[in-house]
């Protein structure tokens, strides 16, 4: 097949490209320039986007003997990922920009262009298994990235290839070292790539400015403090609330209401969530008949929770959790899995969380 390998300059995409070459495919490497003013050198634990990262990717491509180009997608990335990220926070939600990037950039803008230029599929270094159109968790549970791919539809998966899904991250680094790739020991990227210093709150403050509002105690309904902007908070957050309760019990963010700019906080016993309602879902294959049993993962590194999935009546889903969860925020993706201990849990689809409730049906924002 003619494959386009998206190469960030990190070890995963380097090895993914190498494995695609080994498998006999005709591979072309492409590095995505996503920032309009790229730094010359990498700073912090970032895995992409600097000129140095482009150089790292080019070095690997040259060693593999494959063509390599840089595609400038900075405008698309700014509109579809960065602006969306800021708007979601401004609306009191907690977005996942990596998921959005996969949905709008890697498996949309890049894939469309690749197809038009005659490529059959896009190869990435994501840790997830993909065979026969079925997307499954990586064999390396600690590095599994199926969550951020859960947003892909069948037509996108049909033109995707993830060569790393059946090997562990340790093995990926070994392969890179065996091949003499300079990126074999390059640190994993952790932060959001467009926030180089890792200070998400500071980034949002620069974009959104000061938008002060009250911090309200859920139990008493009283205002217990002030904040500079709801975007500084995410549901489930415990640190940095700036309030000290007399009872010494930790407080958690329970809800964010963007219009009145109210951040509700409360003790752990109030933070549990039993039901999630979502926006319209997307499915990796056909839509399963509702209702059905599944497992749901509610954030990037969250544990899967057994659940019952039913219709919310408005096109969205109503997901009833078997066990109460904390830290479920509107805007996050609920990714649904069919458990499969042998072949790897299979991704069924995903939907953006809209509202969360306790079992008693008291709606929180």
């Amino acid at each position: 097949m003619r494959l386009l390998a998206a190469m960030s300059g990190g070890v995963d995409s380097a090895v993914a490209a190498a494995l695609a070459v080994d498998a006999g495919h005709d591979v072309t490497g492409v590095h995505l320039a996503l920032s309009p003013d790229r730094q010359t050198l990498r700073s912090g634990a970032r895995g992409c986007c600097s000129v140095e990262d482009a150089h790292d990717a080019r070095r690997v491509a040259d060693e593999l003997g494959i063509p390599f180009y840089v595609w400038d997608l900075a405008e698309r990335f700014a509109e579809d990922v960065v602006e969306d990220f800021v708007a979601e926070y401004a609306a009191g939600r907690t977005p996942n920009p990596c998921l959005r990037c996969n949905e709008k950039i890697k498996f949309s803008a890049v894939l469309d262009r690749a197809r038009a230029l005659g490529f059959d599929a896009v190869v990435t270094g994501h840790h997830a298994r993909l065979a026969d159109g079925q997307l499954r968790r990586s064999v390396d549970a600690g590095k599994d990235q199926s969550y951020v791919l859960g947003v892909l539809r069948a037509d996108q998966l049909a033109s995707a290839m993830f060569p790393l899904g059946s090997i562990t991250k340790d093995r990926v680094r070994e392969i890179a070292a065996e091949r003499g790739f300079a990126v074999a020991a390059k640190p994993d990227s952790h932060d959001i790539c467009f926030i180089p210093d890792g200070d998400t709150r500071g980034f949002l403050a620069r974009k959104l400015g000061s938008r002060p509002g009250p911090l309200v105690d859920a139990a008493t309904g009283t205002t217990v403090g002030e904040h500079d902007g709801t975007y500084g908070f995410t549901v489930g957050q415990r640190r940095g609330l700036g309030v000290s309760a007399g009872d010494q019990r930790p407080r958690y963010v329970l809800g964010i209401e963007p219009v009145s700019r109210t951040v509700t906080i409360g003790t752990a016993d109030l933070a549990g969530i039993g039901e999630v309602r979502t926006a319209v879902p997307s499915w990796t294959g056909g839509q399963p008949a509702l209702p059905f049993r599944a497992e749901v993962q509610l954030r990037a590194h969250g544990a899967p929770v057994p659940c019952e999935v039913t219709s919310a009546g408005d096109g969205g889903l109503r997901i009833l959790l078997d066990d109460e969860q904390r830290g479920v925020a509107a805007g996050q993706s609920a990714v649904l899995y069919e458990p499969d201990p042998d072949e790897g849990d299979r991704v069924l689809g995903q939907a953006a969380v809209r509202t969360v409730r306790e079992r008693e049906e008291t709606v929180r924002h």
């Binding site: 320039a33 482009a54 150089h55 080019r58 063509p67 840089v70 595609w71 997608l73 230029l117």
Partner: protein, 396 residues
């Protein structure tokens, strides 16, 4: 492989390889006083004299540098510093916006860090600067440190009427620097007859080695050094002479100048066939720059090996990649160090819109180009453009 990127670099001539190999086998620092040093110095100075003769300069006007970029930096910054030192009113640089980045970025650095004022010259649609436009920009010249206009444009191949520009600059006492990296060996270049004060050239565009260049600098031009040290090159440039590279540069230049008339005619006819064939296969393709048969007083108005075309609706980036996959090597003209395609600043300077600037490709022919190379391109250009168009401009 079909190599149509001779303006980026062109194959080393066999005579150059032989001369350099011979020189590399010898020991000797041209600044040393003993026999080995004298032999090295003799080789370097012979090269200087032959180069001077080939380019209409005096040997003392030939300064060896590390290449075109260094020569441009030295001329722009060195002339600016020396002229402002002599008269603090001279802070203005009058320059074409279609220059190579080695000139543009030097000028912009001086503007940002060293108080230079920049006057950007209006550019004709062909890419040329009119002498009367330069005259108007210079005014009485009393506040101008230097003017810089390239002899031939590296992207669209337009040749300047450099003698006319130099005359205009000298009327108001302003020195003119010109980047002739693409011009030497392609069009007649006579330093003395042109009247310019400083000329940049380099070896690897005409069959010599990379990393070897020259700044031709008039004896009466004051130029502050960038590199301080042994003062080897008239105290304007320091650094141990790279004798093998200098020998290679000289052999390449002498040969290129001597063989220019026949080679230029042969390459121009190949180029004309290439352009006609592309336009026939892709009827809405647009030729950028001066017409193919454009002429100036001293020779052609367009570099004989240059074909620069825009393909509306296709992105240069995508075209390059599709041609590369079919074994045809060309250029989008303007790429930054990280390889991100930008709309060509040269085309934008000529008044082209951003889309035309993004949809362009440069095919450049050289001394090894053959009919087969043109045929190979013409065989694939129509389907490649069609495919690139289906991928669109990659933007919404």
């Amino acid at each position: 492989m079909t190599y149509l990127d001779h303006a980026a670099t062109t194959p080393v001539l066999p005579e150059v390889l032989a001369a350099m190999t011979e020189q590399l086998g010898r020991v000797g620092n041209a600044s040393s006083l003993h026999a080995s040093g004298r032999a090295a110095r003799r080789a370097a100075e012979q090269s200087r004299e032959r180069l001077a003769e080939a380019l209409g300069a005096r040997p003392s006007e030939v300064l060896f540098t590390g290449g075109g970029t260094e020569s441009d930096n030295l001329a722009v910054k060195g002339l600016f510093w020396a002229r402002r030192q002599a008269d603090s009113r001279r802070r203005r640089i009058v320059v074409s916006p279609a220059e190579h980045h080695a000139v543009l970025d030097s000028v912009e650095w001086l503007a940002k860090h060293d108080g230079a004022d920049v006057t950007w010259l209006p550019v004709e649609p062909t890419g040329r600067i009119r002498p009367d436009v330069l005259a108007e920009a210079l005014g009485d010249g009393r506040d101008v440190a230097l003017a810089s206009v390239m002899w031939a444009n590296n992207e669209i191949g337009t040749v300047s009427d450099i003698a006319a520009l130099a005359a205009v600059a000298h009327e108001v006492g302003v020195p003119l620097h010109t980047d002739a990296v693409q011009a030497v060996g392609q069009v007649p270049v006579d330093f003395g007859a042109s009247g310019v004060d400083a000329v940049t050239m380099t070896g690897h565009k005409l069959g010599g080695p990379m990393g070897a260049g020259v700044l031709l600098l008039r004896r009466d031009a004051e130029c502050t050094p960038l590199l301080h040290g042994g003062g080897q090159e008239r105290d304007v440039r320091s650094g141990t002479l790279d004798v093998a590279a200098i020998v290679g540069l000289e052999v390449a230049t002498t040969l290129a100048v001597r063989t220019r008339p026949e080679r230029a005619a042969r390459i121009a006819s190949l180029r004309d066939r290439l352009v006609a064939g592309v336009v026939s296969a892709v009827p809405d393709a647009q030729l950028n720059g001066a017409p193919l048969d454009d002429a100036l007083a001293g020779g052609p108005g367009r570099l004989p090996g240059n074909a620069h075309l825009s393909f509306p609706g296709a992105e240069g980036d995508a075209l390059l990649m599709l041609l590369d996959a079919r074994g045809i090597e060309c250029s989008t003209g303007s790429a930054c160090s990280a390889g991100v395609a930008r709309p060509s600043h040269v085309l934008l300077a000529t008044g082209a819109d951003a889309e035309r600037a993004r949809s362009s490709l440069r095919f450049s022919l050289g001394h090894t180009s053959l009919d087969d190379d043109v045929d190979a391109l013409l065989d694939v250009i129509a389907p490649v453009v069609e495919r690139a168009r289906s991928a669109g401009l990659g933007r919404r």
